[in-house]
Symmetry: C2
Subunit: 331 residues, 2 copies
């Protein structure tokens, strides 16, 4: 009746996240009380936001040293004290980096029976919905427009680019390294990829978008955000999804220049969003996503790592840009 857990032993503060900030602990398997269910973790989702949660309060309260590391998971119901869930059902849970956890049943929803089940954590999960709403609601792309995506090889970015192609846009992905770039253009159908690690990144970006950017879907903030901001067309839209370049390490010495001057002169609309804001439109989004995957227009890239004990290095690697598509850990 053991329960292996990975705790966030201490907060990294202004340091880069490292293995030493975590500790593997042997806990006890909890017992569900009234209205609760016992869950067994199958897959734990890794997201750059995990690191942002360590910086302070965001859309959830800040993580604290000593707690089981937080993270979303695809979990199986083992024992249920609620009517709408039975053993064997799969749910999306927020019980963190551990093998077993207890959660109130009213917050859990039985997930559809769908293969491969990992898609419930990637294209039909938070990543797919984030890409869908961020691009279509905040970006408002029109056919023929140019869409630029930062962290384009990541879980969200790789879906954003494909949806933008579906919508008839010209799509440029910003990602680290030539190999990721080739993957975006050759396998996912992006029109161009630009390597932000190249010393002449800004020149390359300008060459890739000679007429400017209509929609910028930003996952990174920082220098890429700044470069794209300067490249926006008038009345362009920037969907602010994340700021991964600013999560891991010391606070950046400065924010982007041209804020808010460029927002004014280019009449930009910047709109931050968190995917839960659009929950009432999830059904439509999922139907579209499923149809696009089914007919092959939307390719799913998952980066699955085995072993609870590998969670810290998997997250650290993600922050270093190791992954392509949706990274998760099989427990």
């Amino acid at each position: 009746m053991t329960n292996r857990q990975i705790v966030l032993d201490r907060l990294p503060g202004a340091d880069h996240l490292a293995a030493e900030h975590f500790a593997l602990r042997q806990g006890e398997r909890p017992t569900p009380g009234e209205g609760e269910v016992l869950l067994k973790t199958r897959y734990i989702s890794l997201d750059a936001a995990n690191r942002a949660w360590m910086q302070g309060a965001t859309y959830r309260s800040a993580l604290e040293g000593g707690q089981v590391m937080a993270g979303g998971s695809l979990s199986e119901v083992v024992e249920s004290n609620v009517a709408h869930l039975k053993p064997g059902d799969l749910v999306f849970a927020d019980i963190g980096w551990q093998e077993y956890g207890v959660a109130p049943g009213r917050r859990l929803e039985k997930l559809p029976d769908l293969k491969p089940e990992t898609h419930l954590l990637s294209v039909f999960g938070i990543a797919g919905l984030t890409a869908y709403f961020g691009l279509l609601e905040c970006g408002q792309p029109k056919a023929g427009e140019t869409v630029v995506i930062s962290a384009a090889a990541g879980s969200v970015g790789s879906i954003v680019g494909q949806i933008a192609k579906i919508k008839g846009c010209r799509v440029v992905g910003v990602a680290g390294g030539e190999e990721k770039g080739r993957w975006l253009t050759e396998e996912l159908g992006f029109d161009e990829a630009v390597d932000y690690k190249a010393t002449d990144f800004k020149r390359r970006l300008r060459a890739a978008v000679p007429d400017g950017i209509d929609v910028f879907f930003d996952n990174t903030g920082g220098d890429v955000f700044e470069a794209c901001l300067f490249g926006m067309k008038n009345h362009g839209r920037i969907a602010c999804c994340g700021a991964v370049s600013q999560y891991d390490g010391a606070a950046p010495p400065h924010g982007p220049r041209g804020i808010p001057g460029l927002i004014v002169t280019k009449r930009l609309t910047l709109r931050g969003f968190v995917v839960m804001d659009f929950a009432d439109q999830n059904a439509k989004a999922l139907a579209d996503l499923q149809a696009w995957v089914k007919d092959g227009r939307l390719k799913v890239k998952e980066d699955i790592i085995d072993g609870l004990e590998n969670l810290p290095s998997a997250l650290i690697g993600l922050l270093n840009g190791e992954n392509r598509g949706k990274r998760m850990v099989r427990v």
Copy 2:
């Protein structure tokens, strides 16, 4: 047949704008050609944007050393070679800082006969329309919400705050000095004023908006923008109108922190705008503004300085926060 002109003798670059950047010149009165009109300047509008035009291309091309200083004016038609304008008609013109100028008639529209005529440059001119559209279109204020305005004692800000009061909002103005603050609260009906020059500005701002900011109408950028950004409520709206704190002098060493992280977590919408974008809605806006002035709910503050030769110091003073309400120079 002389024509006194003030030329922008040389660009200020990264220096603060000073009288030495201008020169008074004796030009010749021009002769209107076919389709043109000869205009005599009555009032020249002074706007912080005048300084921004010296930095580079904005929504108009950059100013150059040696040219007659650019600026909007209320001018009288002296000679007309077009059918829709006759001598004595008033127009809003873009002939710059000079007594006489020639302009193509097709770009000019006869202004209504309205007293005092200076209102055509303030509340019924660019300033009033900017306040109206920026607040109502970009800010989308609802009754009961808290609206914060930077450069609140300026030509645009002082109107924004009053319109926000008309719409039933709680209004907090940020302005420099206790005296401006008293004017905002005691004469214009703002609920509170906060002095951005106070050493404890951030604390005072927080105290003035304990529940956060729904709408921030930003004319200044810089530190005030940053402080308000941190004070925004989730789903707040920021109307980016200008960045006067960044126009005069060297480029700021850094932009605001929290960009774009806070835009994400607070789901902010930032939308830059230039008043001309809403030209098709001018009639409705002017009707509302005129009605509000007529019934006394909208007070008009104009800061009128005499003499073409005083244009440079009037602009420099405006950049230093000297003025209240709409500053203009009578020529």
